[in-house]
């Protein structure tokens, strides 16, 4: 049974892997980009077709890999009839949409992005229909919401597009949240999150007292996704998307996900009164309401959107009936709706594309100007109306047949009458689509002279229309897939026979009433439209906007209690809480007696202490004068570095002094475009509070350090010292801790550092238009300024120092494993060496000589460090296990080679890249503020001057 398992994984993965292609291939042209999008789809579709015969025979193909077994989450997929039906729809229509979009999108639209989003969506959708694990299904479910958000908002410049995308995301996302709850309940009852197990546990679930909550939550997910009343309002607003998206997401795939879910869960959830009354009623109301609104919509796509809402209601109602025959009808109608609705959307897109309007009131008479489009649109619309010999007729008959013998609250008439009204309205808007767009006199006021589009654009809808006719004339051709899918839905072995003529049945009479009534309604459309326009209706978008505004206000109110944007408040809360916790810990367990005595204080060390204390207190007093505070910070950094060196921590001393230098430069750069004085904002009371907190925290930390130093406490350092050489191959314990013992931490930290660098870059980019840049532009620098921007002496000294600094950096890097040093310090030293060049000869000159982008350097560093870690998998060890060996090359002494050095190289590159990127970003802002730049190393050429003087 599991022969096709690996193929199933490939099918699930193909679109996601393929999504990487279009963004790159767009550089090779639009057609290549479209082809590269089609390739993964075709591959997946081919593999699906390989599996199809077995599925059609009734087999179920499964594939499973444990992912997070502790959570019950496994990456398991299965393919049965229903999955096959949906998967082939998703991939097949995806292929057609790819073709259509190639011609639909204009040259200004970023096509690579579009196709990437499209493939992401396709993968997510495919994942939903072949997931065997409901947690996995939920993941894919949310992915469809996210990727459809990107697709709906694809035209970022259109406010309707952005708003529609937000609305769709809010509604379907909220439904998805509800569904998570429902699915978890379901999994709890069944004792497994695997769909195949849950499908077996139908009786247990239906008899559980948690059945109703689970049902309601899951239906909330399905109804929001499938735009069922009262959640239908997002779908018409999502029509701001490009038409290929509407045709794909809003006719064929995403909105059917809710229907799919109801079909999938049908064996488990259906068959109860609750199911029937909730699902069938919602479906029925949605069907009638959607059709009614559709009739009065003038926007072609809005008409189709509401008609989709109506048809989704029809499908929901059929599933709600809970009978096997209704399930067959639903499955069949899914296929039929897909074919005619996608074709209609594409037709609408063509009309819009060619005439530059979608307003029905401005169209008409297009049958002469666009004969091919007319033919395609008419066939599809007639199918939607349910006219015999087109496929829509067949499933609509089956629906009416089912409706004709369904009782609703013991009334035998309610459902048939409503269903007939729905069908009647459906006929009316379908006829309106044809007659008001294509029929009637040719007009002379189209916004753009229409004509038929190129073949590539009408090929996709034409193919769909061929299917409409083929299935309509020879329905038995679809029997195989309908049988397989319906059997999968119901869990029973069904053998439906699809045929055109069922004899004179109630359904036929209902159909006749619908067609005649629909035609009459269309004839009366003019006066009815006026009444409709005058009638008061609730405006969904306004209600939604008000609701969202209220929710946002509420959330903001709650958030601002703790997060009001003032860092002093955060620090106060954080510090006071830490001190409080420390006090609680001390008060609850006390301290043991000290085991060490105090050491004598050398006079010179006391001087260092005085420096530190005086400078710290001075910073507190003088911090309003920012430059002076920076000079004082210099003293603190220097004292601490010297202290580290004195207290036998040379590694820390090296790092500290480099970090100090870089920090001072960063702060000076930032100070350039910030006010030079800190405004006095805090009232005295607040200052007093802060002083108390600060003294408490400082005193507490001091007391803690004192308590530790007075006692012999067993620490982890002993382990590190003992194992440093044996385990990590290095005698510098600090470095071995960084690259080996705590290598994972270091890896995380360099990633964070890299991200910080990139974030600063991005933030500075935003600042370029902000108040900082404006302040810089308006600053008067004429006073107190040196005329020489690039003094000769400095330029020469920094050039000479550059190679020395680089060698020092290399030296510190290479010996880091065994002696003080390492990638981090080396990165900083090299960064300082480069910064000196920036300072001496200016931004533009240095920038021109830079070969590698700093972004690239950060990326390379992280990748190298990551690969080093992964490399240890090859030898079967855990991530980042060190290996080392000794090498002897004749001219030099024997030396050690450790994988840790590669890791350190990654650290080096990331640190260098991140530091340089930060400084680069900060200094760039000055240039945007209008500073001039020089191309040479100095403002004047000393050699040239001499020559001129000699000539004189």
């Amino acid at each position: 049974m599991d022969d096709g398992g690996p193929l199933l994984f490939l099918i699930a993965l193909a679109p996601f892997i393929g999504a990487l292609l279009p963004g790159l291939m767009i550089r090779a042209g639009r057609t290549v980009c479209a082809i590269s999008t089609a390739v993964p789809t075709v591959i997946a579709l081919t593999m699906l077709m390989v599996l199809a015969p077995a599925v059609l025979r009734g087999e179920v193909i499964q594939a499973e890999v444990d992912w997070l077994p502790q959570l019950g989450l496994s990456a398991s997929f299965f393919l049965d009839g229903l999955g096959l039906l949906f998967a082939s729809m998703i991939l097949g229509v995806g292929l057609l949409i790819t073709l259509y979009a190639r011609f639909y999108l204009s040259g200004e639209d970023p096509m690579g992005q579009f196709y990437t989003y499209l493939l992401l969506f396709q993968g997510a959708m495919l994942g939903i229909v072949i997931s065997d694990n409901i947690l996995l299904l939920l993941v894919f479910w949310e992915l469809t919401s996210l990727s459809s958000f990107l697709l709906i908002g694809y035209w970022k410049h259109l406010p309707e597009g952005r708003q529609g995308a937000r609305m769709a995301l809010a509604v379907t996302g909220a439904g998805g949240l509800a569904m998570i709850g429902g699915m978890l309940i379901l999994g709890n009852i069944a004792g497994s999150y695997n769909l195949t197990d849950i499908l077996q546990a139908g009786d247990a679930i239906r008899s559980s007292e948690w059945y109703l909550p689970a049902l309601i939550l899951i239906l909330l997910g399905a109804f929001t996704k499938s735009a069922q009343f009262p959640f239908h309002f997002w779908l018409p607003h999502a029509m701001a998307a490009p038409t290929p998206v509407s045709a794909y997401l809003h006719s064929a795939t995403m909105v059917k996900a809710g229907v799919f879910l109801m079909a999938r869960m049908w064996p488990v959830l259906s068959g109860t009164d609750a199911w029937f009354y909730i699902v069938a009623t919602t479906g029925l109301v949605t069907m009638v309401l959607g059709a009614l609104i559709a009739l009065f919509k003038d926007d072609l796509k809005a008409l189709l959107a509401f008609s989709t809402v109506s048809h989704l209601g029809l499908l929901t109602m059929l599933l709600g009936f809970g009978t096997q025959a209704a399930a067959v009808a639903a499955v069949f109608h899914i296929i039929n709706h897909l074919t005619f609705k996608a074709a209609l959307f594409m037709t609408a897109g063509i009309v819009d594309h060619e005439t530059h309007t979608r307003d029905i009131k401005r169209l008409g008479g297009l049958r002469h100007l666009m004969p091919i489009t007319f033919l395609i649109g008419t066939v599809a619309a007639l199918s939607m109306a349910g006219i015999p010999l087109f496929n829509g007729f067949l499933s609509k008959e089956m629906m009416l047949e089912e409706a004709s013998h369904t009782d609703w609250f013991s009334s035998p008439y309610a459902v048939p009458v409503m269903a007939t009204i729905g069908a009647l309205l459906s006929v009316a808007y379908s006829f309106r689509f044809v007659s008001h767009v294509f029929l009637g006199p040719v007009r002379d006021d189209y916004p753009h002279k229409p004509h038929d589009p190129p073949f590539g654009m009408w090929a996709a809808p034409a193919l769909l229309v061929v299917l409409v006719i083929v299935i309509g004339v020879a329905p038995f051709l679809a029997e195989g897939i309908v049988t397989a899918a319906a059997s999968a839905v119901t869990g029973a072995d069904l053998h439906p026979h699809l045929k055109i003529w069922h004899g004179v049945t109630p359904a036929l009479w209902m159909s006749v009433i619908a067609v005649v009534g629909g035609a009459v309604l269309l004839a009366l459309h003019g006066p009815l439209d006026k009444i409709w326009a005058a009638a008061p209706r609730p405006e969904a978008k306004a209600i939604f906007d008000r609701l969202m505004a209220a929710i946002v206000a509420l959330s903001r109110g709650i958030t601002e209690i703790g997060h009001n944007g003032a860092i002093s408040r955060y620090l106060a809360i954080f510090t006071a809480a830490s001190v409080g916790l420390g006090w609680v810990a001390y008060a609850s367990s006390g301290l043991s007696a000290p085991t060490r005595g105090l050491l004598p204080v050398e006079p010179v060390i006391a001087v260092g202490w005085i420096m530190l204390v005086v400078a710290t207190v001075s910073v507190v007093v003088m911090h309003h004068h920012r430059f002076r505070a920076l000079v004082l910070l210099g003293i603190i950094g220097l004292s601490i570095s010297a202290g580290f060196a004195y207290l036998s921590a040379p590694d820390l001393a090296l790092t500290q002094i480099s970090v100090e230098t870089v920090t001072i430069m960063l702060l000076l750069l930032a100070l350039h475009f910030m006010p030079k004085l800190t405004p006095r904002e805090s009232p005295t009371g607040l200052k007093f509070r802060d002083a108390v907190i600060a003294l408490g925290a400082g005193g507490g930390v001091g007391a803690l350090a004192y308590a530790f130093m007075m006692r012999d406490i067993e620490t982890i350092s002993d382990y590190h010292v003992a194992n440093s050489y044996e385990g990590g191959g290095g005698t510098n314990v600090v470095n071995v801790i960084l690259v080996d013992f705590r290598g994972y931490d270091t890896f995380g930290e360099i990633i964070v550092l890299g991200i910080a660098g990139l974030v600063i870059y991005a933030l500075m980019h935003a600042l370029l238009d902000g108040p900082a840049a404006r302040r810089l532009k308006n600053t008067d620098f004429s006073q107190d300024r040196s005329r020489d921007r690039h003094p000769l002496m400095m330029v020469v000294v920094t050039r000479v120092l550059m190679p020395i600094a680089l060698v020092v950096g290399l030296y510190i890097f290479l010996r880091g494993h065994n002696e003080p040093g390492g990638g981090f310090v080396a990165g900083l030293v090299v960064a300082i060496a480069l910064l000196m060049q920036y300072m001496a000869s200016g931004f533009a000159w240095t920038q021109e000589r830079k070969r590698i982008e700093y972004h690239t350097m950060i990326g390379l560093g992280v990748v190298i460090a990551g690969l080093t870690g992964v490399g240890s998998w090859l030898s079967g060890s855990p991530f980042l296990t060190s290996a080392y060996t000794y090498v002897h090359l004749p001219p030099i002494e024997e030396f050690e080679l450790a994988t840790a050095m590669l890791f350190d190289l990654g650290v080096f590159l990331t640190v260098l890249g991140a530091v340089m990127l930060m400084l680069y970003s900060l200094s760039r802002i000055a240039r945007f503020a209008g500073a001039t730049v020089n191309e040479g190393p100095m403002d004047y050429d000393p050699g040239l001057k001499d020559e001129q003087e000699a000539e004189r």
């Binding site: 003293i635 040379p650 230098t661 000076l668 040196s786 730049v933």
Partner: protein, 89 residues
């Protein structure tokens, strides 16, 4: 003998550091403060080297070298800030 010499030198540099601190505190000019800070760096370097001699180890030599190499960079940066407003133009 070397102990006395070391003690004498260390006290001199210690006193020098305190004087630097005084200069930074009273100013009067930003340039005075920067120069005092730079002198402070040099005194610290000297103290580290002295300490290394006293302990008879080379391990303090390296931080001293590194401070010597990068210590002046911040001085230059402070000066550039004063003179030009922007340290990287």
């Amino acid at each position: 003998m070397i102990e006395y010499a070391l003690a004498f030198a260390a006290s001199c540099y210690g006193i020098a550091l305190l004087l630097d601190l005084w200069r930074i505190a009273v100013g009067p000019d930003a340039a005075d403060r920067i120069l005092a800070l730079d002198t402070m760096v040099i005194n610290i370097i000297a103290l580290l080297v002295l300490y290394g001699i006293w302990r008879g180890t080379a391990i303090y030599f390296e931080p001293a070298m590194l401070i010597a190499m990068v210590g002046f960079v911040s001085t230059v940066a402070y000066c550039r800030f004063l003179l030009r407003g922007d340290i990287i133009e």
